[in-house]
């Protein structure tokens, strides 16, 4: 018990004695991790938004004008039996016209001049959740397009592909930036621990001479690294949360992009905890690197 207390107290004493270095290390780590966090936050929100948009994607299957109603029913059954299909809604020519008149009341006179209703009957198809990826949608559309009675299949393919591509780029950037800045955090904490080790090398020599094992000598420095990493990570989350709320408030104030603020969300508590743990891990890695670099004899 006293040994544990000693090790924790040593780590705390290290940080207290090298107060300035400790504060600088926590702050720089916090800002570094906050930069990683920004990318992560943007990525998480875009993925969330993309997920919601993909759930809303409806595929319009327009039918040929003279397609017999018996065949329409057969096609509907066929679509409903498809394992990739989640829902099917039939819209007759009359319903299509009615909807057009409701949505574009000023333009309805355009159709009156044509005499016959030019709008085709259609099926509004929603794919099952497992088949909503752009690739799955594309292959399904290609298959349906060849079916008898289908005039055209329409969906926002380009838009969805673009969004998926954008998310992919952000994901890559987040990984790249995250890797680089995490390495920077490891270096910052590693240097802090290195300074602490150099400042206390006499003490380390004394501990070695009285029979302290390498692990016993190293534990306070590992603890210090882990605590610095965790504090830096927690502070970075604080900075991010503050910036996030400020951004959301600004959007509300300007009135632009209304509704987007409700779609935006901060990291859930579980992710916050995981990020603090990750910071702790980075700090620990920093101490390990530093202790290994400083050599076997001294620590």
């Amino acid at each position: 018990m006293r040994r544990l207390f000693y090790l924790v107290r040593e780590a705390w004493t290290n940080m207290r004695i090298n107060r300035t270095t400790t504060i600088v290390a926590v702050l720089t780590t916090a800002f570094t991790l906050a930069c990683v966090g920004i990318f992560l936050l943007v990525y998480v929100n875009l993925r969330h938004a993309a997920g919601s948009l993909q759930e809303d994607v409806k595929i319009m299957v327009y039918l040929e004008d003279r397609f017999p109603s018996v065949k329409v029913q057969e096609l509907e059954q066929k679509l409903k039996a498809d394992r990739m299909v989640g829902g099917v809604l039939f819209i007759s020519k009359e319903q299509a016209l009615g909807e057009f008149q409701v949505q574009f009341p000023g333009e309805s006179h355009l159709l009156e001049g044509l005499g016959e209703n030019p709008l085709p009957a259609s099926f509004v198809v929603t794919l099952a959740p497992n088949f909503r990826s752009p690739d799955a949608m594309k292959s399904w559309v290609e298959r349906v397009q060849t079916m008898e009675g289908v005039a055209k299949v329409d969906y926002n393919q380009e838009w969805l592909s673009l969004l998926a591509e954008l998310i992919g780029y952000i994901e890559l950037t987040a990984i790249g930036v995250g890797f680089l800045l995490s390495a920077a955090a490891v270096t910052i904490i590693g240097n802090t621990i290195r300074l602490a080790l150099l400042a206390r090398r006499e003490e380390i020599e004394i501990l070695r001479s009285i029979g302290a094992t390498r692990t016993f000598i190293r534990i306070p420095y590992f603890l210090e690294g882990a605590v610095l990493g965790a504090c830096g990570s927690a502070l970075s989350l604080g900075i991010l949360k503050f910036a996030f709320e400020l951004f959301r408030q600004q959007i509300q104030l300007t009135g632009r992009f209304s509704g987007i603020e409700n779609m935006m969300s901060f990291f859930p508590l579980s992710v916050c905890l995981a990020l603090v743990m990750a910071g702790m891990g980075l700090g620990f890695a920093g101490s390990v690197v530093s202790i290994l670099r400083i050599g076997e004899r001294r620590a």
Partner: protein, 229 residues
């Protein structure tokens, strides 16, 4: 008698200069040995080898039945727990109290709180500084600091106590007190090896004296008992 320390044809070079040259000697359990020699004679090198801080270039060293030259790095701390060390510069931690300094070897070994309190109090009492246990080492005189260093070396009951120039920073009166303390520790059964170049120490110890000159074992004798080598 059993040899607690044994050196067999030990040699060590520092920058192509022989720090120790073909040393063979035995120290029996319970002996008090003075290791004499001027600066650079190889006394400190020999003591450092006994606690595994340095390895010989040739020969073998046995301490308490363990071949020090063959110990793995992870085994060396356990050897040091059996061999107490006293240094000329005391090597006390200034930011810790006298009590905490002496308790350190016990904390390292994971001794219980209750035993730490008892053993540290006993060790401080044995060296006569038990009334200073809350003070910082820097507030003590050099003689008292050396006593605290000795208390730290004996607190976990080592089988051997090594002292490297323990009186180097002390006046003749304090030197006498410290040597008397070593004699007392030796009388309780601990093997004591004191490395010194101080003739005052020689005058006070009627024991075995090993003299080193430029890394060579020059003589081995027992003062007052007429045994020469």
């Amino acid at each position: 008698m059993d040899a607690i320390i044994q050196l067999i044809h030990v040699s060590k070079w520092h920058d192509r200069r022989a720090a120790l040259s073909d040393i063979t000697l035995e120290i029996e359990k319970g002996e008090f040995v003075l290791l004499m020699g001027s600066s650079g004679a190889g006394k400190s090198t020999l003591l450092r080898m006994l606690i595994g801080e340095e390895q010989p270039d040739e020969g073998q060293i046995f301490v308490h039945g363990k071949n020090v030259t063959r110990l793995r790095p992870t085994e060396i701390p356990y050897l040091r727990r059996k061999v107490g060390a006293v240094f000329q510069d005391f090597r006390l931690l200034p930011k810790k109290s006298v009590f905490d300094n002496v308790a350190l070897p016990l904390i390292v070994q994971g001794v219980s709180e209750k035993d730490i309190r008892r053993k540290v109090t006993e060790a401080l009492r044995a060296v006569g500084v038990d009334h200073k246990n809350d003070q910082s080492p820097n507030s003590l005189s050099t003689g008292e600091q050396q006593r605290v260093c000795i208390a730290r070396a004996i607190v976990n009951g080592p089988v051997v106590l090594l002292a490297d120039e323990p009186t180097g920073n002390l006046d003749p009166e304090r030197t006498r007190e410290i040597i008397e303390l070593f004699k007392l520790i030796n009388a309780r059964g601990t093997t004591v090896v004191v490395a010194t170049h101080d003739p005052h120490v020689l005058n006070q110890v009627n024991r075995r004296v090993i003299t080193l000159v430029q890394g060579v074992l020059l003589s081995e004798r027992r003062i007052g008992q007429g045994i020469g080598a």
